[in-house]
């Protein structure tokens, strides 16, 4: 990472100098945010490395929290493209993306290939094995029976359900709980980090909990969680149902696509399935290896996969 930062910096400084001389050549330095979850970071790093190795561009990677600042950065022209937005977690799509009623300053280029699926989860030690406290907890219909198990100081007579952490995400936990008559107090922890920290702490102490989570996510590499079945998703039933599939997108601005059709063509061609990505995530989060190193290795071993993505140049 260190070396990359340094090259990025040098490159950006170089670009700044060239920009002062106002030569168009400056444009081949792209800026892209590093997603703060491993999956998103992997997707982008693959694209960055192909751009650098095969297409002669350079990319400055900017570490920043994913969210509105990324959207604003794109809109302001300070970022060029970003990876793996999950539409239901995007808090600003209604403001910027045409399909959702926004002003069109941001464009979803193409699906990543990774499909997200949200749900309510309980730890495996709660439902399986010796001394499991809720062996029959399988579906949403069993939740009320076990509500006492999930009671806390603050939740009163109800059980505590650790809901979607950010209120702007499209989880509709309250509508779902009301529709399914769940006798649960929904707790919103404010940030994704706090959400996982709470789960990790409870898990370490083997306490019972039922919490919102989704796949693919690195947390499943650390905690063994089992999904609680919800009524199947349908458009009419939503949100009193399971979640729909979340098709994730790589995205950027319309103007970037006009200026650099070749780069956006690469992004449009890119596809990666959940299981392909999971392998890379495991190497990073479980084996603790560096992101750029893992991606480099993947590129070396999978040329037949990514070579066709590279658009014909010239």
């Amino acid at each position: 990472m260190k070396a990359l930062n340094r090259t990025g910096l040098l490159a950006s400084a170089g670009a700044a100098l060239i920009a002062l001389g106002s030569t168009p050549a400056a444009a081949d330095l792209f800026k892209s945010p590093v997603a703060d979850w491993t999956g998103g970071a992997v997707t982008c790093e693959i694209i960055h490395q192909i751009l650098e190795r095969e297409m002669g561009h350079r990319v400055k990677r900017i570490t920043m929290p994913s969210g509105p600042a990324v959207s604003e950065g794109l809109r302001a022209g300070d970022l060029d493209y970003a990876c793996e937005t999950w539409p239901s977690y995007s808090t600003t799509k209604e403001k910027y993306v045409t399909e959702f009623g926004g002003d069109g300053s941001i464009r979803y280029y193409a699906p990543v290939g990774v499909i997200g699926q949200s749900g309510y989860y309980v730890p495996r030690y709660l439902v399986e094995g010796e001394g499991a406290l809720a062996p029959d907890l399988k579906t949403w219909e069993d939740l009320n029976r076990y509500k006492d198990l999930f009671k806390t100081l603050e939740s009163g007579d109800k059980g505590r359900l650790i809901a979607c952490p950010v209120s702007a995400w499209e989880c509709k936990d309250h509508d779902r709980a009301a529709g399914l008559d769940l006798e649960y107090e929904l707790v919103e922890l404010g940030s994704e980090t706090a959400h996982w920290a709470e789960l990790k702490g409870l898990y370490a102490r083997k306490e019972p909990f039922v919490a919102y989570a989704w796949e693919p996510h690195w947390i499943h590499a650390t905690l063994d969680l089992v999904e609680v079945e919800l009524p199947p998703y349908s458009e009419e039933a939503w949100p009193v149902s399971d979640w729909p599939e979340d098709v994730t997108y790589n995205y950027g601005t319309p103007s970037f696509e006009e200026e650099h059709p070749d780069v956006v063509a690469l992004i449009r061609n890119f596809r990666m399935s959940n299981s392909e990505q999971a392998e890379l995530i495991l190497a990073i989060d479980v084996d603790g290896r560096d992101l750029d190193e893992v991606v480099e290795e993947w590129l070396e071993n999978n040329e037949e996969v990514w070579r066709p993505w590279v658009p014909d140049q010239g």
Binding site: D36, E72, I162, V166, L189, G190, A194, K200
Partner: protein, 710 residues
């Protein structure tokens, strides 16, 4: 401090318990009446919906933002390009130097101003950045700090001078400065991106908003405090207003201005961490990246780098402000490394004599080198102009450290370029404290006795403090609360401010923020009460025991400068995701001023007061509770004041760990890029802060007056 010493005659009065019980009685009666009102009104009384609908303030702000975006972007982008260029050049320059250069640049002033101890601390501190592999990010933070602090100092001094010359301008600027300091940064960080761009330039702008006020305030204060006699004398000599300013007022105000620089640096560093939210690289980004993956140890290393940077800057700028011309008695051996208290131990003396010799030799060598260089440059200058020769030689001779430092840097550069590649910080010197910290946190998370204690605290805070107070404040009718607050402010501060406060409360209600403002008020109150319960005894302990003070001091420094992200997650591991966790995090951040000002208040009491109290037959505990504590109350109240402001500032961070109230509103608004919503809630926090600040300040003044302190 003698000027502020309490009158000895106040002691018998204090000891005889001549205390005013009316205040306590009033308080009790107030609570009783309020409880009755709450019961009588039955359930929550939200602010009337019609009023809320009549004032769509969020919409107005968003429209204004849009207009600004369309018409002012060319201007803001122009500024940000210049700032961005300065930032990138500085960062690149620092990054490309071989690493010892940065060490020399930072350690030499530390040695020159702060002596051997600060010099050693600085060199270890700077090398720690390299040792934990955060050299590059530390340099990013340093560059951001350097450029923004320079901008703050430049604009702050100018505005401060204007303030000092013009009362009306000062009065106008004052509420603006208050707002700049307490408005949560999350309100303006994201909107700043469109105007100033991602990363450095926006971060620098945000830092200027946050860190400029102390610079203006202390410049203004320093100039206004210049003694009238001196002004009179200067006028008698026929000084023009401009001469008066540049030759008398500003030089006299320098200590105050330097204190302003110190405060500005500390505040700038706090915001440089938050600036990661808009893509500013540096230590803040490193901490954030680690904490989103729940890597507590890694984030702690980053946090420690920030603490070290803060301590270096703080001590260095404080040392520059100290008077270094004090005369030492002949034959007095000043201890440079060990505590001066040990000077009766022969072994310590031997060590210190050695250090003293070395120190003087190095100092002598530096001076000699500087003289030599001075002569050389002087000879060169003589080719141009005779008088310049003397000036150049004298200039060099007076700056032994600087000249030697420049020679050292040149030497490192020459060695690096021609003899031996030095380059980056050596990999072999890297250390890591991640794993032990991770292990401690993981072990504590599952250690039953520890968790039993944390859960007991959580239950006590929630059941007996937070939940009742929440309910109390939310269920009281809004007009009653507004009226009561107005009344208290009127009695304590004055009619004008009471009217402002009531209008402000109405504004909060009209912006549909009434209930969550009450949540914020409850959370802040509970945090401040806990801070007082913990902080006052600790402060007293530190005032009575030097050892305890010495142990506590670095801990307090760390609590104040460690980025909150670092401890939020461990606190959450231990206390769980509930409202109490937010309170605990707030207490960690807001406790230090409470402790420090209690220690200061008690420590300031002159010894003779202790004597007099004893001669009246008072025992140690009696002296403490009946004499010292009441005399220290003004200082303690100032601590409460600071704690309140810091607790409110923390409201912007606690939403990350289940905090409720206005802070969460700001955070949610940031998440949806809704500037209007964020600004309204931010104004709510600002109003709370200003009202509470003025209230505690006026109580402190009254207390001081009662004790005959001013």
């Amino acid at each position: 401090m003698a000027r502020h010493a309490p009158r000895v005659s106040a002691i018998p009065r204090l000891m005889l318990g001549g205390r005013d019980w009316t205040l306590a009685a009033l308080l009790l009666a107030g609570v009783a009446i309020s409880l009755l009102v709450m019961k009588a009104s039955g359930g929550a009384h939200p602010f009337p919906e019609d009023v809320v609908r009549a004032f769509p303030m969020v919409e107005w702000v968003n429209q204004a933002e849009k207009w600004l975006q369309e018409h002012f972007r060319w201007f803001t982008r122009g500024i940000s390009e210049a700032v961005g260029w300065a930032l990138e050049s500085l960062e690149l320059f620092l990054l490309l130097q071989p690493w010892p250069v940065l060490v020399i640049v930072l350690v030499l002033p530390a040695l020159a101003y702060g002596g051997l101890r600060l010099g050693l601390f600085t060199s270890f501190g700077v090398m720690f950045w390299g040792a934990v592999d955060m050299w590059d990010v530390a340099i990013s933070t340093l560059s951001l700090m350097g450029v923004s602090v320079l901008l703050c100092v430049a604009t702050g001094t100018v505005l401060g001078i204007v303030c000092s010359q013009n009362d009306r301008f000062e009065a106008m600027l004052r509420p603006v400065l208050d707002a700049m300091q307490v408005m949560p940064a999350f309100v303006y960080l994201v909107p700043a991106i469109f105007f100033f761009g991602l990363g450095g330039p926006s971060a620098a702008m945000a830092i200027i908003i946050y860190a400029l006020p102390p610079m203006i305030r202390l410049t203004n204060l320093g100039i206004r405090q210049v003694s009238p006699q001196m002004i009179e004398a200067a006028r008698a000599f026929g000084a023009t207003p401009m001469q008066m300013l540049t030759k008398v007022q500003i030089p006299q105000a320098m200590p105050s201005i330097r204190l302003g620089v110190n405060q500005t640096i500390m505040m700038a560093l706090a915001l440089a961490v938050l600036a990661t939210f808009i893509g500013a690289e540096g230590l803040g980004a490193e901490v954030w990246r680690a904490i989103t993956r729940l890597k507590v140890g890694h984030s702690f290393e980053g946090g420690l780098c920030i603490v070290i940077m803060a301590v270096i800057f703080d001590r260095m700028s404080a040392a520059m402000n100290r008077d270094r011309t004090r005369a030492l008695p002949a034959g007095f051996l000043e201890f440079r490394l060990l505590p001066q208290k040990w000077d009766s131990h022969p072994a310590a003396r031997v060590v210190e004599i050695g250090i003293d010799r070395a120190w003087n030799t190095v100092g002598g060598a530096c001076t000699a080198t500087a003289r030599g260089v001075g002569r050389l440059l002087g000879a060169l200058a003589a080719l141009v102009d005779r008088s310049m020769q003397i000036r150049v030689s004298a200039w060099c001779a007076r700056r032994g450290f600087l000249v030697t430092g420049l020679i050292l840097i040149a030497a490192v550069l020459v060695i690096d370029a021609h003899l031996l590649r030095i380059g980056d910080f050596p990999r072999e010197w890297e250390i890591s404290i991640r794993e032990p910290i991770d292990k401690v946190v993981a072990d504590l998370t599952v250690y039953p006795p520890f968790i039993a204690v944390t859960q007991w605290i959580r239950a006590a805070v929630y059941l007996y403090l937070l939940a009742p107070l929440d309910r109390f404040l939310v269920e009281l009718p809004w007009f009653y609360v507004a009226g009561l607050v107005g009344l208290i402010v009127w009695r304590s501060v004055g009619l004008g401010f009471a009217i402002v406060t009531t209008v402000a409360l109405f504004f909060v209600g009209a912006a549909d923020l009434w209930t969550i403002t009450m949540y914020t008020l409850a959370g802040t109150t509970v945090s401040v009460v806990i801070c007082m319960v913990i902080g006052i005894p600790l402060g007293i302990a530190a005032a009575h025991s030097r050892v305890w003070d010495a142990i506590q001091r670095p801990v307090l420094d760390t609590m104040q400068t460690m980025p909150a992200f670092v401890y939020l997650i461990p606190v959450l591991f231990f206390f769980g995701g509930n409202p109490t966790t937010a309170i605990i995090a707030t207490v960690i951040y807001a406790l230090p001023p409470m402790i420090r000002l209690t220690t200061l208040g008690i420590g300031q009491i002159p010894l003779e007061i202790d004597e007099v109290a004893r001669s009246f037959g008072s025992r140690t505990l009696q002296t403490l509770t009946k004499v010292k504590f009441p005399l220290a109350i003004p200082s303690i109240m100032l601590g409460v004041n600071q704690t309140v402001i810091m607790a409110l500032a923390m409201q912007a961070i606690t939403p990350l760990v289940a905090g409720l109230g206005l802070g969460k509103e700001v955070y949610d608004a940031m998440n949806t890029a809704n500037t209007g919503r964020g600004l309204m809630a931010g104004i709510g926090i600002t109003l709370l802060a200003i009202v509470l600040d003025r209230l505690t300040q006026s109580w402190t003044r009254q207390q001081r007056a009662a004790l005959g302190l001013s």
